[in-house]
């Protein structure tokens, strides 16, 4: 049987300041890693939860985003009668010709780019997850907009009853929509024809969003759309389209992980230093334990466990430090759409477990060498080091 954990725990408590400082170092490292991961996870969740699994986005061939795609009303007429497209409650095909553009919104936080999306009534049907939580939908033929709740909460001018100036004049905010965690929370929805006229793009629209009947039909529909030479189209699933935009998080993820790794190296050395000090201070204890019959392996395990215990405390502190970030709203520029996307930090249980595992890894690396030093001590040499 190994030495009792209470022995290690009380030894950590016996040198409170050292323990606390080392645990705090580990905690900060874990917090940086988790904050980065929570941000990236929030962004990815926002983008991936936007898509419906049966939606297909028809864009011009070679376009990487709706913003640089081009679809005409004639294309729409060809697309909406394709086989495999589901019908809405009104009996019409679930296909929405849409125009996507970027508008500049002025606010207390400065000017930001926002995605404005002109849609047809079918566009609402293709987005079941989008609910109007304040006001109403825009009316076709009027300069009215519905704003995502993230935009409404961050920009006073974009709140219900407010007006936003872009294109040829003001647009009245008549509704606020809640799209769950999806990217639509960061967009403005308005009438397609109004927006197209406003932007002089009556024949140069962006994309067509269609809903397939089922997965089998979706594959056939995709093949049909891409093979149709009249359309010259790419037809990715909506899921894969948004998944490709998660690359916006890549620089943040890299910087955050890099900083966390640098800090982790420091924390490993801090843990190592603490444990070497513990081994030196308790040399006679180590000798005594050996005399009592504890093996070298038992001593190694005990000091390693102590280091793991120390890092576990650091890991818990790190999780607690980062917990207040959960659901905190933030926004970053989407490099694909050139507009801001707002989303929530997501500190999930899985993420915290990862943080704890990372802390334990630091503890293991930092504790291994001091524990080996403790185990290798000759009994008499250790006993003389009082």
């Amino acid at each position: 049987m190994a030495l009792p954990l209470t022995y290690n725990w009380r030894n950590l408590l016996a040198r409170k300041t050292t323990t606390l400082m080392t645990a705090l170092g580990i905690a900060l490292t874990v917090a940086v890693l988790l904050a980065t991961a929570a941000l990236v996870d929030g962004l990815k969740t926002s983008l991936t939860s936007t898509a419906h699994p049966l939606n297909v986005l028809v864009m011009r061939k070679g376009s990487t985003a709706e913003l640089n795609s081009n679809r005409s009303p004639e294309d729409y007429q060809i697309i909406k009668v394709k086989r495999g497209i589901a019908k809405g409650p009104n009996g019409e095909p679930l296909a929405s010709l849409e125009l996507v553009t970027v508008v500049i919104l002025e606010g207390d936080l400065g000017a930001i780019n926002i995605t404005a999306r002109g849609i047809t009534p079918q566009g609402w049907l293709l987005r079941e997850g989008v609910k109007i939580v304040e006001g109403r939908q825009f009316q076709p033929g009027r300069r009215e907009i519905v704003v995502g709740k993230s935009i409404a909460s961050r920009y006073p001018a974009a709140r219900l009853g407010g007006t936003i100036d872009f294109g040829r004049g003001p647009w009245q905010v008549v509704g606020v929509m809640d799209a769950g965690r999806s990217a639509a929370n960061s967009e403005l929805f308005c009438d397609l024809n109004q927006l197209a006229a406003d932007q002089n793009r009556a024949t140069a629209l962006s994309s067509v969003l269609v809903r397939a009947i089922d997965e089998v039909a979706m594959q056939a529909l995709t093949n049909d759309l891409t093979a149709d030479t009249r359309l010259n189209a790419d037809a990715p699933s909506e899921s894969s389209y948004y998944a490709s935009q998660t690359q916006s998080a890549a620089p943040l993820q890299f910087i955050g992980t890099f900083v966390a790794l640098i800090m982790a190296i420091g924390s490993c050395f801090a843990a190592m230093n603490t444990m070497y000090a513990a081994v030196a201070r308790r040399a006679a204890e180590i000798g005594t334990l050996r005399v009592l019959g504890f093996s070298k392996g038992g001593i190694l395990l005990s000091f390693l466990l102590e280091s793991l215990l120390l890092s576990f405390v650091g890991g818990i502190l790190g999780c607690l430090l980062v917990l207040p970030l959960n659901n905190l709203q933030t926004g970053i520029g989407n490099f694909v759409t050139f507009s801001e996307i707002t989303f929530d930090f997501r500190v999930t249980p899985e993420l915290m477990l990862t943080g704890l595992a990372f802390a334990l890894f630091m503890g293991a690396v930092g504790g291994l060498f001091p524990a080996a030093t403790a185990a290798r001590k000759e009994i008499l040499t250790a006993l003389k080091q009082t």
Binding site: Y7, E285, R290, V291, G293, F294, S295, K296
Partner: protein, 233 residues
């Protein structure tokens, strides 16, 4: 069955210090039988502690033979020695060497952690050992809350809790006042007389040596013949 507990032949321990060799113990021959209480005496550097450490297998001899409780210590691996020592040898240190963060009973329980005893049995054994040394009412006290004499009694309880065949004591009264030293020696004497424990004790103190049934002297690394003392003693 042989009554011999410790038997050494030409036992030698040399240390290398830089380029020179230091002979700490030279050709020591000693036989200690079951139930004996032997005091090893001699001036500093005479080799008495070295002999005790070799008997406890805390160090390896560089020459000669040593058998303790029937085991040829030279043939045991480190792991075997650890298990053997836990099962058969109790050790009492001059500085008590209690674990400061553990209570009296937790300190005494420590060697039992290496046995197959369950928690309740371990607690029972530790409690009985502490009662035997007169500290049944100090179970939850930490070493810092005990006097030096009490600490040494906890250390003796720890040494006997596994019911070892052999108790080795290295200057057990060296850090104690006269009264506490007498208590500790009385306790070792009782363990020898009432429980038949074989005890080997290293000491500088002639009063302490009087507790032993036999005294052997060492000088300059040599074990002197029975009855012979170092010149200055």
């Amino acid at each position: 069955m042989s009554n011999v507990v410790i038997e050494t032949r030409q036992l030698t321990k040399e240390f290398v210090r830089g380029e020179s060799k230091v002979v700490a113990l030279k050709d020591a021959n000693i036989t200690i039988e079951k139930g004996e209480f032997v005091a090893l005496m001699g001036p500093s550097g005479s080799g008495k502690s070295t002999l005790l450490h070799l008997i406890a297998a805390m160090d390896r001899a560089t020459g000669g033979e040593i058998r303790v409780l029937g085991e040829d210590l030279r043939k045991l691996s480190d792991g075997d020695i650890a298990r053997w020592r836990n099962a058969h040898v109790g050790f009492v240190f001059q500085s008590f060497n209690l674990i400061p963060v553990l209570s009296a009973w937790e300190n005494v329980e420590l060697p039992l952690k290496l046995t197959k005893l369950g928690k309740a049995a371990r607690l029972d054994h530790a409690k009985k050992a502490l009662e035997l040394v007169g500290l049944g009412d100090r179970l939850d006290h930490t070493p810092r809350q005990l006097s030096g004499g009490q600490e040494q009694r906890v250390a003796i309880a720890r040494a006997i809790v596994t019911d070892p065949d052999l108790i080795l004591a290295d200057e057990p009264t060296g850090n104690l006042d006269a009264n506490s030293a007498r208590d500790a020696l009385d306790l070792l004497g009782r363990l020898n007389r009432e429980f038949g424990k074989t005890i080997v004790m290293v000491t500088h103190d002639p009063h302490a040596a009087k507790s032993a049934s036999k005294v052997r002297y060492l000088e300059k690394g040599e074990l002197l013949p029975i009855g012979q003392k170092p010149e200055d003693w």
